[in-house]
Amino acid sequence: MWAFIHKLGSPKWFYGISAKLQPWFWAAAVLLLVTGSLWGLAFAPADYQQGNSFRIIYVHVPAAFLAQSIFISMAVSGLVFMVWKIKVADMAAAVMAPLGAAMTFVALFSGAVWGVPTWGTWWMWDARLTSMLILLFLYLGVIALRGAFTSRDSASRAASVLAMVGVINIPIIKYSVDWWYTLHQPASFTLTSRPTMPTEMWLPLVIMVLGFYSFFIALTLMRTRSEILRRESSKRWVQDLVNGRVVNAQAEETR
């Protein structure tokens, strides 16, 4: 266990292992996303109430899932970095943040677009939309804080602390916003009160969710690799890698 953690902590080892894992996740992501979107957009039956506009769910729900999962994994990486001083964890957290913010924005934007046919307006102060908006601000705060420090080590630790504080607050914010919604507005239309989905609508959604997760893992691996090269650029093995002895170095690592 400890040997594994120490290995995982070594950027060089991670660089090697991620090179092997990466293609599999990319392949899974492409396969799942293509299957899911074709099935969801072309073959799944239209909703009897919402017609074809319900198909936004195949982007909206996976993006919303991912937006929350990425924040949690960012906080977990931050915790790992703070406790065991594993640099790779912080690199992963650093590259996850923009993707998480992008996914939150996608979820918000697709929610707004979906709002036009169903609610007749681009924006409702719906409890879920509101907590997603707050999540976006939390992401922006983490990204801005990391960018504000000149010392990279301080930036990493500050962003880790803020991510952990944020992840404790997310459930509190979510439940208080739910409460606020029920206090201030009559229960009108929520995204959850749809009739239970038939399997042929539900299965593509699961495939899309899995595809989004594979895409997230693949992209995080790829960007963490670039981050490793950038931060470890003074190390011998990185310089060897860059100065032409690429084949040797990679063969050595992946062995």
Binding site: G141, R157, A158, I173, L183
Partner: protein, 262 residues
């Protein structure tokens, strides 16, 4: 004589010595636990007294949030409408948002002067846990920002034609809520104290975390106006305060260490 007495009575005397001050503690270096406890209380008390004295000598800094609060509240009737009925409906939210912004405004100076003159480093070097000392600093901040804001709010409530019967709830919810705001905000202040332009960043970090407090604070006042029970809202505000009192000090201490080392 004193030493044996302390050792015999154990727990009882340890709490005694913490109240009495440094004398008995200094005399008994052979009991490390006792020294630590006494030292902690003394250090917290010293931090409280020091911060209170410093802030009371810079009265402008204490008054600024209050003036800001009054000014912002003045802007709303001018911008929206002087109609008392309209103002009465939006008054709870306006008062809460304005008080929240005023508390936010004062956060930047929470650790700033200590950081500039190096006394923050002395706090970090002190043998007592930094979390306890930072709670003392936050307590002073609340005493001189949150509490005055809460006491002043009913006055501004009159100006906004806040319906009768909700004034006590307004003050109480603000007093409870601003304590949580000070604690949560201190995390952001500690994270940004080392940065040259931390002010705008501070509000970006802290405002999303303020939302639960705002919801239940403004909700309490609204419930009081509608004649509903306010105890649920106030209880949740108290729960938020308890939770942040339990968790925030560790985050503040960790953030201060990051800011000092960086």
């Amino acid at each position: 004589m004193q030493e044996t007495g302390l050792q015999e009575t154990g727990l009882h005397s340890s709490s005694d010595s913490s109240l009495n001050g440094s004398d008995s503690v200094m005399d008994a270096p052979s009991v490390p636990l006792l020294e630590h406890q006494g030292g902690l209380m003394i250090a917290v008390k010293a931090t409280l007294v020091r911060d209170l004295t410093l802030l009371l000598r810079r009265r402008g800094e204490v008054l600024n949030p209050l003036v800001f609060f009054a000014l912002v509240i003045t802007l709303f009737p001018i911008a929206i409408s002087p109609d008392p009925e309209l103002l009465a409906t939006i008054a709870p939210g306006l008062l809460w948002v304005a008080a929240l912004l005023a508390a936010l405004l004062s956060l930047d100076s929470l650790f700033r002067s200590d950081y500039d003159d190096g006394s923050l480093e002395q706090l970090l070097l002190a043998p007592q846990p930094l979390a306890a000392l930072s709670v003392a600093k936050v307590a002073v901040h609340w005493l001189l920002t949150g509490l005055p804001l809460a006491l002043m709010a009913p006055l501004l409530g009159i100006m906004l034609a806040l319906p009768a019967g909700s004034y006590a709830v307004l003050a109480l919810s603000l007093a409870l809520g601003t304590a949580s705001l000070s604690l949560i905000g201190a995390i952001g202040a500690a994270l940004t104290v080392g940065l040259a332009r931390g002010g705008v960043l501070l509000s970006l970090l802290v405002l999303p975390l303020y939302i639960p407090v705002l919801i239940f604070g403004a909700g309490a006042v609204q419930a009081a106006i509608l004649g509903d029970g306010v105890s649920a809202h106030l209880a949740i505000l108290g729960a938020l305060l308890a939770a942040s009192l339990m968790l925030a000090p560790w985050a503040i201490a960790a953030s201060l260490r990051i800011s000092i080392n960086g």
